[in-house]
Symmetry: C2
Subunit: 367 residues, 2 copies
Amino acid sequence: MKRSFIREILESIDESTISFAGGLPNENLFPTKDLKKAANKVLDESKVFQYGLSNGIKSLREKIALEYTKEGFETSSDEILITTGSQQAMYIIAKYFESKDITIEEPSYLGAMNIFRLNHLNMNPIKLEYDGVVIDEFEKSFKANKLAYLIPDFQNPYTSTYSDEKREQIANLIKKYNGILIEDSPYTQLYFDKKTKSISSQIPNNSFHLGSFSKTLSPSLRIGWIRASKKLLDSLMIIKESIDLHSCGISQYILNEYLNDEIRYKNHLQTIRDDYKNKALFFCEMLDKYLPNFIYEKPKGGMFIYGRFENIDTFNLVQKCIKEKVVFVPGNQFYIDKKPNGEIRFNFTHSSFKEIEKGIKLIKNCI
Amino acid sequence: MKRSFIREILESIDESTISFAGGLPNENLFPTKDLKKAANKVLDESKVFQYGLSNGIKSLREKIALEYTKEGFETSSDEILITTGSQQAMYIIAKYFESKDITIEEPSYLGAMNIFRLNHLNMNPIKLEYDGVVIDEFEKSFKANKLAYLIPDFQNPYTSTYSDEKREQIANLIKKYNGILIEDSPYTQLYFDKKTKSISSQIPNNSFHLGSFSKTLSPSLRIGWIRASKKLLDSLMIIKESIDLHSCGISQYILNEYLNDEIRYKNHLQTIRDDYKNKALFFCEMLDKYLPNFIYEKPKGGMFIYGRFENIDTFNLVQKCIKEKVVFVPGNQFYIDKKPNGEIRFNFTHSSFKEIEKGIKLIKNCI
């Protein structure tokens, strides 16, 4: 099995290459001062440096639970499991469902597909449209395997956001067949105008809802979580423990302290949303100007733009582009069979406005 | 599969119970001030908060590699993989060897046994003596499965430390059959008088050598590592990436900064060794005084004392003891079949001198 194309690219290119490839947040927006202040407040206590609970420190779980409850999705701290990024959340759940069949969107998140392969899950892909999966196809698949992995908000890579209708239809199907939904939601807070409502909130006992602080605060903290019924979470504990005993305590305490100032965090989130929205709009403008044959839908949030050329093999194109010092992820990477196609995923959050224009021009010259 | 007895106990007892059960370091010795100082030095830079390399930050890998090289075990930074505690190191390697047969010591580390079970490895246990496994039995097993998991330094739980002769014999057998040794070494730095030499240094291309900062600096950092040939490490990368992309960056940068002052770290290690040696001696004194029928060997380092009663079922005993507010781990937990026996593992690092005496008296009263 091969490593992720994206991770390999990220580790091989140098700083002179403009990268639309990764999913890096804009590092100029990290609240470094406030996180440092939080660190200074907590790093005196010896308990911060000792072994901790496998499911994470209680006050942090309480804060995360409260956010759900405030939005009408009642949740207690026992229904939260802190994980080492939502990547680990995915891994733990996949390990739990080892060797099972699973319904996924196509295209889908590379990292999740690698996790499923590693844990011998048999993936059944369902065509994704910009407003969610095709429902009939979903039902046919889910009826058989009773397990689905979806990214309903600003999907990676496809940028699709499920319509309210499709959310309800999916929730009803999951109830009908009494199956399980793994709802991956790392981008939910990165909406441009309107917050979406999770599918899990309609099926609290039949879902794992995954969240992360990687896109909103700092990926380096490696703090994500799973929201699920206590019964479902309990069945994951032996795996969580075996993988790393518990997630980094230093990170958890710093984060917990930072989150004590709710208004500051809310303002910070708004700053990111405004910045990313501006970046996305500018990226679209540049695409329309320099690559008018690129067909795509404007994203409503998240970190990516996804679209396609009619007659270009983008896996070939990216090899040329890398030599010209610009890189993106060719869409075939997000499919199970990896057959060449004309699709591309662009990340718009990490590059400056200047780099965006320059990078898109460089791609134009490679076509 | 059940969760770890130790983790469950740690999470269920209250603060009024004297615990000889866990493997908690003495938290009074955490260098909180120096770690906080290190945090203050690094938490201004935005790169500290961004995604990082899957194998860990380079300067930290270089420092760990240098320590090996200084001791005559030549190692480069490419031969180090940073993991989320050495627990994760074990998990990654076990996942890589999924469903294989493996030679292990008996008794052995509970966490590792759980990891092996979870990854469907078939464990073949070899009787452990205080100077290492019985060599003939080891050869018979290793010849067949070519994969072994050993804790040669101050073993958990047995406290055994391999003699130089046995280390050489094991290394020769691993070469002879061209197999792989997983050498787990979290306690190596906690020697009382004499540092041991790893088996891996004699077979650098046939071994994974696992280390950790959890016992020497702080478990909350969740930073451990694997030392192996680049070829072996490369084969683990897809698993490491899938599990958590990379280990906590904040921890790595703080740790890396802390380690810049080599002399301070060396002094800190000596402080721990002195403290633990005193604690161990006192614990042995109290055992001899109050529980003269407890047969054990004085440890030469590490965090535990291991021994046995002739005619007591210690799994029954611990249930009584928990009610009297003292707890230890009954030895049967460290065996594959968990048949009741008279063995006990005591942790001596976390309790105060007063608690040690009080706790042992409480146990005496339960017998």
